[in-house]
């Protein structure tokens, strides 16, 4: 069904960013605009989700040029789900930033660029045109690059160089892939590509092109052996920025992989094996990487990799149930990871360090905050009935269906490592009697902040913790959504018809 307004989530973020650019130096006004704007963005996303849920896939052709000639935007269930999650974690991060981001950064464009980033994410999720998808990736890279560097500390710059180099490499690979694909089919519209690629007789060439997409998106989603940029950079920027990164950046890669490998390239046996091996090694590398870290943000960074492996595993199994598991995991992971990085930020604000060895005594001093933080921590582990559990159920089930017991074994290993790491984290940071740490001059501590700022940080963590609880306890609803997404992905007929009309 056609609906011209489905690009609104994108345009609204752009509008917000422009508005924020106009109030460049007024920090309080910026905070207000960003918060209120993010709330409206959530409302828009909710309405859109409801629309799509009710009436099926919505499409708009930018410039009114019919597909495949213009640029198509498609809002199917998967897209709107991702947009909704993006705006939710965007809202949380925006509120968190009110408390956690230093004024100097706010005066140098922090908020506009945050909204540019969110715009890029929404755009990527709604794009129905492969080149347009590339353009959104550009937005994401450039704005995340600027966010990493903003403030210009040495560690930030070092991290950002690695980040941007490898991500640009990913873009180059992606762009090459698009060029080759265009050479093969003469089309950029994803629905059209789905049909045209299926008709190509030279399957060998299609398979080679698929490899380019796999590697391009693989770098983005930080899978083995392409993930290096992530542990090199995520621990460097201010926590609010790591939060939005941790929650969403790698997930765009996963989204793109899911989209492209269900719609355009149907994986052959080799691809399935390749993806499964990559998934297994991603889980392993991420899990054991997190085992040996001391910096809590590095621990979470490696855990991102580990859990990206779970999602990739679902793709590697390639059954509807496994994809359902991946989508459920995606929903859970976006919320939890965003929250965990905010938690690490709050811990830092209170204690002045990210080092697990030095931290301690949190439970004694801040019992209520500790309990609050326990929710995302133990959701991540997947302690039932918190949110991570249900997805794992489907992934294991999917592995049994395709008789891939090795992959199931790796999923269990990954879950165990996560469990162990988080339990140790709890024992070290929360239980251990912390030593009195020397006061750092460079840090503005939590208790020195205005009450409004303190509240902003706690409220945003609380907000996402509630969503996590909701995902766990209301699993039925999430499963319904995820199963519709999985069904639509595995049967792209409806997507294609929505874009190109009845065939």
């Amino acid at each position: 069904m056609s609906n011209p307004y489905i690009v609104l989530p994108i345009i609204f973020q752009l509008f917000l960013a422009i508005l924020l650019m106009f109030c460049w130096t007024q920090k309080n006004l910026q905070k207000l605009v960003s918060t209120v704007g993010s709330l409206i963005a959530v409302a828009i996303a909710v309405i859109m989700f409801a629309q799509v849920w009710k009436s099926g896939t919505l499409v708009t052709q930018a410039g009114n040029w019919g597909a495949p000639f213009g640029i198509t935007f498609v809002a199917d269930t998967f897209s709107v789900l991702m947009v909704l999650l993006t705006t939710l974690s965007g809202l949380a991060v925006s509120v968190f930033s009110v408390g956690a981001v230093r004024n100097a950064r706010v005066k140098f464009g922090y908020f506009p660029i945050l909204h540019f980033l969110i715009m890029g994410l929404c755009g990527a999720f709604l794009a129905g045109d492969i080149f347009n998808l590339y353009v959104w990736f550009e937005i994401i890279i450039i704005s995340s690059f600027v966010l990493i560097t903003i403030g210009g500390e040495k560690a930030q710059l070092e991290g950002s160089i690695k980040y941007v180099t490898m991500n640009l490499l990913a873009s180059v690979v992606f762009l090459t892939a698009i060029a080759v694909l265009y050479g093969l089919t003469g089309s950029l519209n994803m629905a059209d590509l789905s049909l045209k690629v299926a008709e190509i007789e030279n399957r060998g060439l299609v398979n080679v092109t698929a490899i380019l997409f796999l590697v391009g998106f693989g770098i983005k989603s930080a899978v083995f052996p392409l993930y290096f940029w992530l542990p090199a950079s995520y621990h460097t920027p201010p926590p609010a920025i790591s939060a939005i990164f941790g929650g969403l950046l790698t997930k765009v890669g996963i989204y793109a992989l899911l989209r492209v490998f269900t719609l355009i390239f149907i994986p052959d046996a080799f691809m399935i094996t390749l993806i499964s091996i990559m998934a297994a090694l991603t889980i392993l590398s991420g899990g054991i990487g997190a085992m040996i870290q001391n910096n809590i943000r590095k621990i979470f960074s490696y855990l991102i990799i580990c859990h990206i492996g779970f999602m990739l595993a679902g793709l590697g199994m390639y059954t509807e149930l496994a994809i359902l598991g991946t989508v459920f995991y995606l929903v859970h992971d976006i919320i939890v990871k965003t929250n965990l990085f905010m938690v690490s930020g709050l811990i830092f604000k209170i204690k002045g360090t990210y080092s697990l060895r030095l931290l301690g005594g949190f439970y004694k001093d801040y019992p209520k905050l500790s309990l609050l933080m326990a929710i995302p921590l133990f959701s991540l582990v997947g302690i039932p009935p918190l949110s991570g559990f249900w997805a794992k159920f489907y992934l294991i089930r999917g592995g049994l269906e395709v008789d891939n017991l090795v992959l199931v074994g790796f999923i269990i290993l990954g879950s165990f490592l996560t469990l162990f790491i988080i339990a140790r984290f709890w024992s070290e940071a929360f239980w251990k009697t912390g030593e009195e740490l020397p006061k750092k001059l460079k840090v503005k501590y939590y208790h020195e902040l205005k009450p409004l700022k303190q509240k902003a940080m706690v409220v945003s963590i609380l907000f996402l913790a509630f969503i996590s609880l909701g995902i766990g306890l209301g699993a039925e609803y999430v499963i319904q959504v995820a199963s519709r997404v999985a069904e639509e992905l595995m049967n792209p007929q409806s997507y294609i018809e929505a874009v190109l009309g009845k065939l």
């Binding site: 056609s2 011209p4 345009i11 752009l14 509008f15 422009i18 009114n64």
Partner: protein, 136 residues
């Protein structure tokens, strides 16, 4: 580089090049040109001026921070894009005035959009170049 000849030349060159850039922008729909190239030419005009007369002089001519052009340009672009929404058309649908305007030809939302591109490009290149030359 601050020779008198260069300075004098650049003082005349600036308006000429700016005019040329607008010309390039406007003719874009029919002949090679457009907002992007136009914007680049305009910024090169300012850059030349600043090389000749020093940054301060150039900035005093522009009066406001060139970065301000970026949101303004984006407003043009987003406005041209969103205008069709009010008549129930998809984003970026071309809307055209009925009659051609002398010299320019057909005027439509595409031209507004291209103007946005033009402004953003100027804003971007000047911001980058000015910032770099100021701080280094």
């Amino acid at each position: 580089m601050k020779t008198i000849i260069f300075q004098t030349a650049s003082n005349y060159l600036l308006p000429l090049l700016l005019l040329f850039s607008v010309f390039i922008l406007l003719r874009g729909h029919y002949l090679p040109g457009g907002g992007f190239v136009g914007g680049l030419i305009a910024s090169i005009a300012f850059v030349i001026h600043s090389f000749a007369n020093g940054l301060e002089k150039t900035r005093s001519i522009i009066k406001f921070h060139p970065g301000f052009l970026m949101p303004v340009g984006l407003v043009f672009a987003i406005g041209a894009g969103a205008a069709p929404w009010f008549v129930g058309q998809p984003f970026m649908t071309g809307l055209w005035f009925e009659d051609p305007i002398p010299v320019i030809g057909m005027v439509g939302s595409a031209l507004f959009f291209d103007t946005g591109v033009f402004l953003v490009v100027i804003g971007v290149s000047l911001t980058i170049i000015f910032t770099i030359s100021e701080t280094l």
